[in-house]
Structure formats: structure tokens, C-alpha cells
């Protein structure tokens, strides 16, 4: 018999306004509203005394295990590796509720799931995507270097700001000490390392590295690295066929020795389009990640530090096509670069004379310099950039900033505040310069041989062959 629906008094759910005592933080909050639920529990936003944005995750009774409780306790004790993680801050028990929960910071609404990018509902730039990728790699490097392992790395748990690439990592309650067989998840199907799928391993930092490579490929190529012709020949992608595709017989779509899983242009056009755009060093690192990285889980995987170098080099190589403004990548192969740089004569620029056509390497550069935008295809041959100590190049665009990372070998990955930026001459908009944003004085050797000093806040004109002594390294303006 149905009578009027009455309020169900659930012993593991909260209603709006209900107080939540957070002893670990010494505060009492009130539940604002439910934000959503997953496989493990339900998440609520909280109203806190000082208005700090907090959320409560309360486990479903079947998920509220002592093991989970212990994991949380140790995560809270360890503290968050960085503010990129939505880390447990305090455990919560409530006398009238079954199970337990924890509080963490709220993920701001500017952070969007990467699925928005894969569905093209947001429109980030390459620079933003590469920043997000770099932040991901950096965050997981930090996590792993603390001996911790994420276990369930997938696109479902990471978020980015499409305006600037800042990231947030959620679902941190499965993080455990590497090697301790703790936690009850083994991963998310398309992101799990093959050795987990075939039952030879449980999640560990090496399998995290594999999942990370999958994520990077998804973000940069909008395609799964193992979804090529073999995938499109499967009519119904069920679990047995997924186990085969991603676990028992994984084959990279761009495997240089086996093209039987090459992208199917009907379904994997993205992979083909982006593969053509990125420079070779990017392709090489992904080939390694999905050939050796699959064959040899222990030694073959690309390390986070390697990803960091590659992703930052790629971001530094972005230049805007002079015709359409699309972001293209400057090829920074140094032997090629020598050839391009040497013959530049100010005032007498002539592509035909200076770039020997018969040289195959240079030929390739020219190909790569054709803007990828199908409506544009402009040849961009001379791209202003700065070479630093023979080890890195930074394309110089109107919005380029140079950081300690670039010029100080002791401050790698320091992007806290810029030391230089491209600036426009105050009275002559045709003249562009590099402004000194650091406290140090630069010694600048002009192309004509003159030596000048550039103090903090001053700029010098960007003329090819100008040499800059930053103190910790030397740069030369190339063109």
C-alpha cells in the first residue's frame, strides 16, 4: 500500500543544514547541498565558519572499511604534496550516521573535467594544454617521490582551468604507500596498465606512470593510444574485447614496427592530425612510452622527469603563425638550427640564398614550418627565438615570458615569477624588446659589437645575434 511519501531517514546521508563536527579542524560546519556521488560515496558542500570552501565526502556503508579509515588517517597525517591535490584534511565521524567521511577543499568551478576538452566543449590553446600536462606530470612526480602511489589515475579524476592550464587532482582517497597492498581499487579500464589487466600486478608507481602516459596522449592527441584499426574493427566493445585491446594484446597505433593498429581515418582522425603537427622529439617519447613502456613495465616507462623536459621544450617552442595566428611548433633540432642561423644578414634577407635547398634536414624544417591550419598553410621560415646555453630554445612571441627555469640551472621548474618578458617599444610599435624583470643587471652584446648593460625594468631591442649574459647563463637571439 502506498501512502504519502515520507522523508526517509537514511543513516548514511546528510540533509541540507545538518551540522557536521570536524574535530580535526576544530570547527563545526553545516551541510549546504549534495554535489554528486561516485562509487565510493557522496560528496556535499559545506558552509564553514570562516567561509573557506570545504566539502565532505561520506562513504557508502559498504565502502566505509577500516582499511579506508587507516588510509585516510595516514594521508591526513602526511599532508598534501601541493595545492593541486584535493587532499583529505580531516576525518569526520558522526554519532548518528553509519560509517565515516572526510573533508577536503572544494574544487573551484573554473576547473573543468578533461572530458570537456575531449568533447570540445572548451577551447584551450596548446599552451594551456601543455601547461596542464606539465602540471600533471609535476604533481605526480611530487606524489611518487614521497613514496606514494595514486592507483586509480584516469581522466575522471583530474580537472583543469581552460584559461591557464592550472590543474586539480581529485579522488585522492585511494592514494597509498607504494608497494603496500592497500586500498580496494585497481584502476579504470582504459587507463590501467596491461600488467594489471592480465592479473600480473597490482597498482604501483610504475603502473601510475603508464596511466599518466595514457592521459598525456589523450590530452595531446584526442585519441586513446591503443585505439586504431583494431578498435574500429570491434563491433561491440565489451569487457572481454577491452581486456584484449588494452591488456593482453596492446599495440600502439603509431608503433614503428607494426602498423596493424594504425589509426583508422574514419574514427581516429584526431590522432593522425595531431601526429602531423608535433615535432619529432614528441613523437619519439610517445613511441617509447607505448612500445618499451608496454614491453618492460619496470625499466621501459618514460619517467616523469623526462616528460617534464619534453613538455616544457614543446611549450617553449610555440610560435604564432604570422598569417593566421595559430600556434605552431618551432623545430629546435640544433644542427638544423645552425644552418638557419648562420647566414642571416640584417637587411639582406633572402631565403633562397641562405637556406640550401638540397639539404634534406633543412627541407624537413621547411615542411614543419608550414602552418598546420588547413585554411592557412603559410610558410613561416624565420621565427624569432632565443637560444640559451646551447641547451634550449624559446620562441619569442609578443606574450613570451622567461622564467628562472630557463636561465638558472639551479632553479629548474621554477615558474614562480618571470625574469624577462617580450615588450613593445613605448614610442615605436615596430620595435620589440626583451624587458629585464629580474633584479640582476644583464650584460648585452649587440650585433654590431657594442656592449651595453640592461638594468632591472629596462629593455633591449630584439635584434638577431644579440648576446645576453643573464649571469647564470648566456642567451643569443636567433632568427
Amino acid at each position: 500500500m502506498i501512502s504519502k511519501t515520507k522523508q526517509v531517514n537514511n543513516t548514511h546521508e546528510f540533509h541540507a543544514g545538518e551540522p557536521v563536527h570536524i574535530n580535526g579542524l576544530n570547527i563545526v560546519c553545516n551541510v549546504e547541498k549534495g554535489l554528486g556521488s561516485g562509487t565510493q560515496g557522496k560528496v556535499y558542500s559545506l558552509i564553514s565558519p570562516d567561509n573557506s570552501p570545504l566539502v565532505l565526502k561520506w562513504y557508502f556503508p559498504s565502502m566505509a572499511t577500516t582499511e579506508q579509515y587507516d588510509i585516510l588517517k595516514s594521508l591526513i597525517q602526511k599532508g598534501s604534496p601541493s595545492n593541486r591535490f584535493l587532499w583529505p584534511l580531516a576525518l569526520v565521524n558522526a554519532s548518528k550516521k553509519e560509517g565515516f567521511g572526510y573533508v577536503m577543499s572544494m574544487k573551484d568551478s573554473r576547473f573543468k573535467s578533461f572530458s570537456f576538452w575531449l568533447s570540445r566543449k572548451v577551447d584551450p590553446s596548446f599552451k594551456v594544454l601543455l601547461t596542464a600536462c606539465f602540471e600533471l606530470v609535476q604533481s605526480f612526480h611530487l606524489l611518487h617521490s614521497k613514496g606514494l602511489c595514486y592507483q586509480d589515475l584516469s581522466l575522471n579524476n583530474i580537472y583543469f582551468d581552460p584559461e591557464n592550464g592550472e590543474i586539480r587532482i581529485g579522488d585522492t582517497d585511494n592514494i597509498v604507500i607504494n608497494g603496500e597492498d592497500k586500498g580496494n581499487v585497481i584502476g579504470t579500464p582504459k587507463f590501467m596498465a596491461p600488467e594489471i589487466i592480465v592479473g600480473k600486478a597490482l597498482p604501483n608507481t610504475q603502473t601510475d606512470l603508464y596511466s599518466l602516459a595514457i592521459i598525456l596522449f589523450y590530452i595531446l592527441f584526442l585519441n586513446h593510444p591503443l585505439e586504431g584499426k583494431i578498435e574500429s574493427s570491434i563491433k561491440s566493445l565489451d569487457l572481454p574485447s577491452m581486456s584484449k585491446l588494452y591488456g593482453f594484446e596492446p599495440l600502439f597505433i603509431f608503433d614503428p614496427n607494426n602498423d596493424s593498429n594504425y589509426p583508422d581515418p574514419a574514427y581516429h582522425a584526431n590522432a593522425l592530425i595531431f601526429w602531423d603537427i608535433y615535432p619529432d622529439f614528441v613523437k619519439r617519447i610517445f613511441v617509447r612510452a607505448f612500445t618499451n613502456g608496454i614491453k618492460d613495465p619496470t625499466h621501459g616507462r618514460v619517467r616523469e622527469t623526462e616528460w617534464q623536459i619534453a613538455l616544457l621544450a614543446l611549450r617553449d617552442s610555440i610560435y604564432y603563425c604570422r598569417h593566421c595566428g595559430s600556434e605552431n611548433f618551432l623545430v629546435t633540432d640544433s644542427s638544423v638550427f645552425e644552418k638557419l642561423k648562420l647566414p642571416v644578414e640584417l637587411g639582406g634577407i633572402n631565403h633562397e640564398i641562405n637556406v640550401p635547398k638540397q639539404n634534406s634536414t633543412v627541407e624537413r624544417v621547411q615542411n614543419n614550418s608550414v602552418c598546420w591550419n588547413p585554411k592557412c598553410k603559410t610558410m613561416n621560415t624565420r621565427i624569432l627565438n632565443i637560444q640559451i646555453d646551447d641547451r634550449s630554445y624559446i620562441a619569442l612571441n609578443h606574450d613570451t615570458k622567461i622564467f628562472p627555469h630557463h636561465i638558472d640551472p639551479d632553479r629548474k621548474y621554477d615558474f614562480s615569477s618571470p625574469v624577462a618578458e617580450v615588450s613593445r617599444h613605448p614610442t615605436d610599435p615596430q620595435v620589440w624588446g626583451l624587458r629585464n624583470l629580474s633584479k640582476n643587471t644583464w650584460k648585452v652584446g649587440k650585433a654590431n659589437g657594442d656592449a651595453i648593460e640592461v638594468y632591472s625594468k629596462q629593455s633591449f631591442s630584439l635584434v638577431p645575434d644579440t648576446q645576453i649574459d643573464f649571469g647564470s647563463s648566456k642567451g643569443i637571439v636567433c632568427y
Binding site: 563491433k235 620589440w432 635584434v463
Partner: protein
């Protein structure tokens, strides 16, 4: 100062053009059919069961739409099939964000076998796509089939897509034949869900329309007891049974 405008041409314009869209398009998705199979026999009129069902499905639609937004794998298509005296399609495959539920009425027999036959006709290629995910079939029933359901079920399971489908059944009230609902699901691990009251019906319907949808489409975190060799798709646990409610069917 020698400085040719030519030299720095790649940096001097384009303040207005740098927001160029990147190449390529949306990631390619697979078709996912989600099919409601609804018992509209006369007994569904008792105790407002059919109203509760209409309500629960309508309630689940926005959640279903939101869940599919984060879906990088599937284009979700929803359809509905009704059985009472005979069986009919009442909603053709519709995109999830255009899906609307029109209230259905209850009268007649319980021709479940007819429903299975009708289903088996579409669970093949074509009309199914060459590039799909295992369909999700959700059977809602409160009673005993009045026709020969066995032949229908056999026919359904003889279609590869019928076999591969994720089959879920919800019993509406204690009178439902749990054995038949179990035979529809097939495996012994998963059981029919028994909705004893409108709240649990709403809850189960929301669960199938979100969690089960994603089991086929957006792979979720898998628990350690995962076994890729037994079932087609790993389905997360149903929501906890409600306690403390007295309104039962």
C-alpha cells in the same frame, strides 16, 4: 638601430587572432543504446505503481543527462518498450539530451515474451551500429508473465547483442516473479533489484540510468575483486537498500 619590421613580423600582430581553435574534432564516440522495458499490465495500476514508475523515470532524466556530459566514450540513445497485452515500442532511440518521458497507463496482460521478441529484432546489425557499446536493457515488472516468455528470452539471448547486453531488472513490489527477472539477467552474481516502495524505485531507477550507463560507456574505477573474464561489463554495486521506510508494496 637597424631593425627591419620584416624580422620580427611573427610577433608584431595578432593580438586579435591568437585565440585560434586547435585542429581536429571531438573524440570519436560509440553508440550506446539504453532501453527501458516497462510492464504496463493491469496490476501495475494497483497502489499507484505505474505513477511511481512514471515519476521515477522523469526524476532520473536530468541525472542521466548530466552523467552523459562527462562521457568521452558514448553517444547515449534511449528508447522504451512497453508490454501488456502484446508489446510495442513507445519511444524510438532518442539522444539523451532530447529525451522526454510521456506517462504511460496500465491495462491488460503481462506478455513479457512478446517484449523479448520485439527486442531481439532490433538487437542486431542493422539497425544497431557497427561501432557500439554493449546495450543496456532495463526490465521493470511487478508480476507473472502471461505468455510464453521462455521462447522470447531464448530468442533474445540468441542474438549476440542480446547476450552481450547489460541486463538489469527491477521488481516492483513483492509479487514480482524474481526467478524470471533473474533469468533475464542471466548471471548468478547479480540479482534483480527489489523495489518495495516508491523511494527505492526512484533510487534504483536513478542508479541504472547513471551508474549502469557509465559501466558500459565511461569506465569507472574498478574494485579489486574485478574479473574481466566472467561478465561483459563490470557493474558497480547498486545503492544500499533503504531502511526505516514503512510504505511498502
Amino acid at each position: 638601430m637597424i631593425l627591419l619590421g620584416e624580422i620580427v613580423i611573427n610577433i608584431i600582430h595578432l593580438f586579435f587572432l591568437i585565440f585560434m581553435t586547435l585542429p581536429g574534432g571531438e573524440i570519436s564516440k560509440r553508440e550506446l543504446h539504453f532501453i527501458w522495458i516497462v510492464d504496463c499490465s493491469g496490476s501495475m495500476r494497483d497502489d499507484g505503481k505505474i505513477q511511481a514508475l512514471n515519476y521515477a523515470i522523469k526524476e532520473a532524466i536530468p541525472h542521466m543527462q548530466r552523467e552523459s556530459e562527462n562521457n568521452i566514450q558514448a553517444n547515449l540513445l534511449i528508447s522504451a518498450l512497453r508490454f501488456s497485452t502484446g508489446a510495442q515500442w513507445i519511444i524510438a532511440p532518442t539522444k539523451v539530451n532530447e529525451f522526454k518521458w510521456t506517462d504511460i497507463e496500465a491495462k491488460g496482460e503481462t506478455d513479457l515474451g512478446q517484449a523479448f521478441l520485439l527486442l531481439s529484432e532490433i538487437l542486431r546489425i542493422p539497425p544497431m551500429t557497427e561501432r557500439g557499446l554493449p546495450p543496456v536493457l532495463v526490465l521493470l515488472s511487478d508480476g507473472q508473465p502471461t505468455d510464453n516468455f521462455k521462447d522470447g528470452l531464448e530468442k533474445l539471448l540468441s542474438e549476440p547483442w542480446g547476450r552481450k547486453a547489460i541486463r538489469v531488472s527491477i521488481a516492483i513490489g513483492e509479487d514480482a516473479n524474481m526467478d524470471i527477472l533473474q533469468r533475464f539477467i542471466g548471471d548468478n552474481e547479480r540479482q534483480p533489484l527489489l523495489a518495495r516502495n516508491p523511494e527505492s524505485l526512484t533510487k534504483y531507477i536513478k542508479w541504472v540510468s547513471t551508474v549502469v550507463q557509465t559501466a558500459s560507456a565511461r569506465p569507472k574505477s574498478q574494485q579489486k575483486n574485478y574479473d574481466g573474464f566472467i561478465s561483459n561489463v563490470d557493474i558497480p554495486k547498486p545503492p544500499e537498500m533503504l531502511s526505516g521506510s514503512t510504505d511498502v508494496w
